[in-house]
Amino acid sequence: MAFIPHTEGDVADMLAAIGAASIGELFDEIPPGLRVDELPGVPEAISEMAITRLMQARAAQDQGALCFIGAGAYEHHIPAAVWEITTRGEYYSAYTPYQAEASQGTLQLIYEYQSMMASLTGLDVSNASLYDGASALAEAALMAVRANRRSKARRILLPRTVPPVYARVAEAIAGTQGIEFCRVDYDTASGTTPVAALAPWENEDVTAVVIPQPTFLGSLEAVDALTDWAHARGALVIAVVNPLSLALLKPPGQWGAAGADIACGEGQPLGVPLSSGGPYFGFMTTRASHVRQMPGRIVGRTVDLDGKPGFTLTLQAREQHIRRSKATSNICTNQGLMVTAATIYMSLLGAEGLARVAASSHANTRRLVDALSALPGVERALSGPCFHESVLRFDRPVGPVLEALATRDVFGGYDLTTDFPELGHALLVCATETKTAEDIAHYAGALADVLKQQKVA
């Protein structure tokens, strides 16, 4: 029996202690008509060896291309130590630290994580993680509604420069609670949100304004002006940020005169592998004054009976297991192990290391854009600076170009046509620190080839 340690003798002894004749008898309270014998679609057991071979083949099948896609998930070098330690059984096979004394490892680590995230975002307090960046924005919207007691409107301004899927997820999760997400237009020349685009809500009751930095298009918003606009109208500011970019960029806590009120985003760039989109983790930080409105676990430092410092879950009265229907969120299991990885990642890199990764990604993307836009039929679509993604405009539809590149084992980028039709044949490209000069030249060569072979539509 795979993983089940009972001997025949054990079973007999145990049944005797229970006073049952068979294991089957233990199920005698289940209405007989409901019991099943077959599980259709479930194959016979295979050994670890067989599944190893199968999974090796399947992994190999998908491997080997050079990836220039970003669009919310970024390929960064992850130091080997990160996952060698993160997958230690003591982290990997523990659960939520309900028994603080038996979980000081995880608890101290989360406290350290919270400290790092607070400093990175320039805010006071952090939770212990949410599911991912997109759902974190939904939670931030719900939190803003709770925190902004002045506002009655449940209205959140959501620029189109926020990742489109974040908007969809926010709508799906928070939409049924009467929250109105108002989309704010952007300037197609720069790919950013002009303060003027907020004018329609100039005199409305706005609960919060979401400000992405960098934008989904890689561009940089005028965060100070947008923040001040919101605060001037009593709206809270929700920053959606790439945490890696904060090694270089101004932290949300310092935006405008007063700083953003909530920062959230996708934690994946901090040591979490791409792995098909998850598990990643959402992060969220805020001002101390809003801490009781924050969803998710929070770890606090305290002392034990002997006065020795230690760590424990705190402010649990916000959470579903205490407050039930009145909780700040239904979240329970979050993304603890990813936070473990991120904390180790940030410790290994430090501020200077993160800055180098960010700067190198920035420089590589610039090089990539230079190389690709030198080709006939390709041009930069947006003016202004970008962080580590940029939009290219083609003289033909992007889809077939990407397909042709894929047959050459180059993933050329993210096709913007569906979500941003007004940008034309637009492609979002990204070259992180993992890309070498040869990689970039390889992409440019492949693209030149493809463009030559494909006719302009």
Binding site: I18, A45, Q56, A102, G300, T302, V303, Q320, G350
Partner: protein
């Protein structure tokens, strides 16, 4: 010995890394976008980081080191092969937007996982995207809501929830814009049918049930409940947190549930990671299939592809940035393939055997079962109200004392309706010897409660810290270290 904070190992100007790019490239960005001061992150060497986090890890109890009978959480062994294989470069490095042409290996796993989950639950279709049980619940209630709305029954805004339900159930219902109607539990742990009949009505959207329930017994009147709720036009939601108890024995789809979530990190043994990631994959019957969260994986001939809003225009939409916790899903897939049909049946059987054995032995030793007339499912409740009254030793004290014996504590004070309770779930991967060791410890504690209650109230004595001051933690909130903050 205490382990200092990583920040206390930090020294300004230290940079002993091989992991960062060897130079800092120039950045051409407007000054007003840039930060003035670097963030306060540790400046430590690779050795210091490795040593610190290795030492910290040793301050955890975990399945890999301790018996961990945390009720409702199914802390069973997480096969190491699942981890090794899911972390292969081909899986680890796959971008979520990689073209389907370069994703067939991964998609094949996801498709087959969907099929297997249909088989073990008796549902019509499965979406893997929810990222934990609570998000599965959210998906489920949103689907119920969407279903009623699609039928123009927008007034159906009440969700029935037993009083013993997990906190995520009512919290989720509210997040979906529903009202929660609480149902009482009868003396034997079943839903009070009379109260249910009273509670249902024209506004009933549905009911959320766990079966076996959170009090550790199988809800015997499930078919009757289904009839009543369906009769009132409501739908049935199955909270799959306890699926381990009945795996291969009875299926929620056959009990009449319209929608379910599964906690893959429980029943299908992906690791709990110190608090996630999990997966709350949802299964649906025919009625709710159009509303499933996207994306799901479809097959056409021998090719796999994502199905999205174009395929499922009535979908409740997306709940995550990409497709959910793919890496967790791979682990569940690997686990299920290693178990197969027969292995899954054995999960339910031996999880149940272990729980009933533990319950019988503890009862014989004088502990009070909350539902003594019932079979235990994969878990069961004991109440220590007598000990609390007679010796002043609470469930919390017993939980902390167990740590000194080298056992993680069971779940305490949940469900709320049983006073001074421990919810105990041994799981099928624990040996009889492990259970016997736990029983010995419990008996010892019971005896000690009479002889030396103060010892128990002071427990734990052997861990890195003694009992922590939760009240102070909440009152003198210290949730982030700051440079210059004095270390306690």
């Amino acid at each position: 010995m205490t382990e200092p904070l990583i920040f206390e190992h930090s020294r300004a100007g230290r940079f002993a890394r091989a992991q960062a790019p060897v130079v800092r490239e120039e950045v051409e960005l407007p000054a007003d976008c840039l930060r003035a001061e670097p963030p306060v992150l540790p400046e430590v060497s690779e050795l210091q980081a490795v040593r610190h986090y290795t030492r910290l890890s040793q301050r955890n109890f975990s399945i890999d080191t301790h018996f961990y009978p945390l009720g409702s959480c199914t802390m069973k062994y997480n096969p190491r092969a699942c981890n090794t294989l899911a972390l292969q470069p081909g899986f680890r490095g796959r971008h979520p937007y990689a073209p389907a042409s370069h994703s067939q290996g991964f998609l094949a796993c996801m498709f087959e996982l969907q099929e297997m989950l249909k088989g073990v639950t008796g549902m019509q279709a499965v979406s893997l995207t929810p990222m934990a049980g609570a998000q599965g619940e959210l998906a489920g209630v949103l689907m119920i809501r969407a279903y009623h709305h699609a039928r123009n029954e927008t007034h159906r805004n009440e969700i029935l929830v037993p009083d013993a339900a997990h906190g995520t159930n009512p919290a989720t219902a509210v997040m979906c814009g529903m009202k929660v109607v609480e149902l009482p539990t009868d003396a034997d742990g079943d839903v009070d049918i009379a109260a249910l009949e009273q509670a249902v009505g024209p506004n009933t959207a549905g009911i959320m049930l766990t079966n076996p329930s959170t009090v550790g017994v199988f809800e015997r009147k499930i078919e009757q409940i289904a009839k009543i709720v369906h009769g009132a036009g409501g739908l049935l939601y199955y909270d799959g947190a306890n699926l381990n108890a009945i795996l291969g024995k009875v299926r929620p789809g056959d009990m009449g549930f319209d929608v379910i979530h599964m906690n893959l990190h429980k029943t299908f043994s992906t690791p709990h990671g110190g608090g996630g990631p999990g997966s709350g994959a949802v299964g649906v019957g025919a009625r709710l299939q159009p509303f499933m969260p996207i994306p799901v994986v479809g097959r056409e001939g021998d090719r796999y592809r994502w199905q999205d809003e174009k395929d499922l225009p009535q979908s409740i939409g997306r709940l995550s940035g990409f497709m959910g916790n793919a890496g967790v899903l791979l682990r569940a897939y690997i686990y299920m393939r290693m178990l197969g049909q027969e292995g899954m049946r054995q999960v339910g059987e031996f999880a149940t055997l272990n729980a009933n054995y533990l319950a019988a032995r503890l009862k014989a030793a004088g502990f009070e079962l909350a539902y003594p007339r019932r079979r235990a499912s994969h878990e069961f409740i004991i109440t220590l109200k007598r000990m609390a009254k007679d010796q002043g030793v609470t469930a919390m004290d017993v939980a902390k004392a167990l740590l000194d014996y080298g056992f993680h504590a069971p779940t305490t004070y949940f469900p709320l309706l049983v006073p001074e309770c421990l919810l105990i779930e041994p799981t099928e991967t624990e040996s009889k010897e492990a259970l016997d060791g736990f029983i010995d410890a419990m008996c010892d504690i019971m005896e000690r409660a009479v002889r030396d209650a103060e010892h128990l109230k002071g427990a734990p004595w052997t861990l890195p810290v003694r009992r922590l001051d939760d009240v102070r933690a909440a009152r003198q909130l210290d949730v982030a270290w700051r440079p210059g903050s004095v270390d306690a």
